[in-house]
Structures are given as C-alpha cells and as structure tokens.
C-alpha cells in the first residue's frame, strides 16, 4: 500500500483501539457475511476505498481481528473471494488462538 493509505489506515486503528466503535462512527459496517464485517476507510483523496475484512473477537469480546485485506470498486469487493477467505481465516484463528497477533500496519 502507498504510504498515505497506510497512514490513514493506521490512524483509524489507533483511534478505534482507544475509542471503540462508538467514537469511530462509520468505520465498521456489516455484517457482509456470517460473523464477518468490513472496515470502511476512504484512502488518500478518495482514490482507494480500503475494505479490510474483520470479525469481533474471536477470543475476547473487547477485540476485533483483521482477517484479510480488500478494496472496493464500483460497489464490488476485490478480491471477490475476500469474504470466504475471511471466514476461513477466522476458523483457523478459533482453532489455534496463538496465531492471533497484535501488530501495526505501518
């Protein structure tokens, strides 16, 4: 991702970590599939619409987990398989909780 997009993404995450969904209105939407939500981030000058897929938990109620990266173009998610991949990745994490990592995107 270009630096500007990474920065915008990281800033939203940093505020979400501290304020939660109540103080970051419009950031998380969905569900787009069972247990799967999308984060809506307008990229630099609106050129790219970042739509990382995520789930609440899956271990702690106070965490969200980013499952797979995606973008949106013309109301279509790219890659088309992102929802399925997100569900698969969620299943992997539930099976092995040690695979969850807290890390920055920058």
């Amino acid at each position: 991702m270009p630096k500007a997009e990474v920065a915008i993404f990281q800033a939203k995450i940093d505020l979400f970590e501290r304020g939660g969904p109540d103080l970051t209105p419009g950031l998380i939407a969905g569900p787009v599939a069972k247990n799967i939500y999308k984060m809506k981030i307008k990229g630099h000058k609106g050129h790219v619409q970042l739509r990382p897929m995520l789930c609440y938990g899956p271990v702690s109620e106070t965490e969200i987990t980013l499952l797979v990266g995606a973008i949106e173009k013309g109301f279509k998610l790219i890659p088309e398989t992102c929802k399925v991949t997100a569900q698969e990745n969620r299943g992997i994490l539930i099976a092995d909780k040690r695979r969850r990592r807290r890390e920055r995107v920058d």
Binding site: K3, A4, A7, A11, D14, R18, I41, K42, R104, D106
Partner: protein, 163 residues
Amino acid sequence: MSELIEQLRSSFANEEYRNSYAESLMNSYVAAQIKTLREESDLTQEGLAKKIGTKQAGISRLENVNYSTWKVETLRKLARAFKVRLKITFEEFGTLPEEIEGFSRNSLLRVPFDKDPVFSPAATGQLLGRAEDALDAASGIGPRLPLGSLSLKVSTGALAESA
C-alpha cells in the same frame, strides 16, 4: 505514551505519512466530537439537522470518520447549535500522541454556555465576591456586606422634595 511515540517516530520521518496520518486523525476526531456533542445535547441527527438548516443525511455524513471536506461555515453552525465556540488552531506534530492516548468520550465533551461554570450565575457571584475582597484589601476597608445583599432605591419623589 512512550510506546506510541516510539511507534510513530520512524513512520513520521516520512512527510506524506505524517501528513496523511494527522489529517485522518483530525477527520475522525471532528466526526466523533460532533456525534458526542449531539448525543450530549439529547439531539437526534434530524433534530440537529433542523437546527443548522440541513438534512439528517448531511449530519450522518459529518459524523462519519471518513468525511474530509469540512467547511468552516458548517462547523460554525454546529458550534452555535451546541452552544460552544469554534476554535481552529494549527498544532505541532509533537502534541499528536497525547491526543491519541487521551481519546475518549470525556475528552470530546464540551460544556454548553448555559452550563459553563465560568459564566453561570453561581460562578459569576463567586467571581464578584473575589473582586470585592481585592478592592477592600487595596483600599484598607474592613469586611463589608456582599453586593447581593444591598438594594438601592431611587425615588423621583424624594428628589423632588429635597430640591
């Protein structure tokens, strides 16, 4: 705090990164504050829209962390609706980590003018009392009755009699 500064230090070396990060933060902060102040004022999005002469969908857009095309005139109208003042300042990047770390509902709340302790009647009385004490101390006068307990009557009849 220091952990966040450490994390941002290397990334902020890149000018495009730090500018985009700060702008993203500002957009999110303003959106969150509008939502918080609206809720604190017991206003629905529709109620606030009526107050500033727009539609509910317009307020919904302003309360979205991705909104970025702010107009000072709209912010001014919102400030009036919330009975607070609008303050626009330029800030150093160094103050940014503290803003992030302190980000909470409380940090976004502002007291409306009619509940502002600086200008509420009770607070004004206290300030007046302090001013009187200062005047007495300066002029060497002993304690006197508070201004609130004095009443002055002006009678045109009495003036006419004495004249």
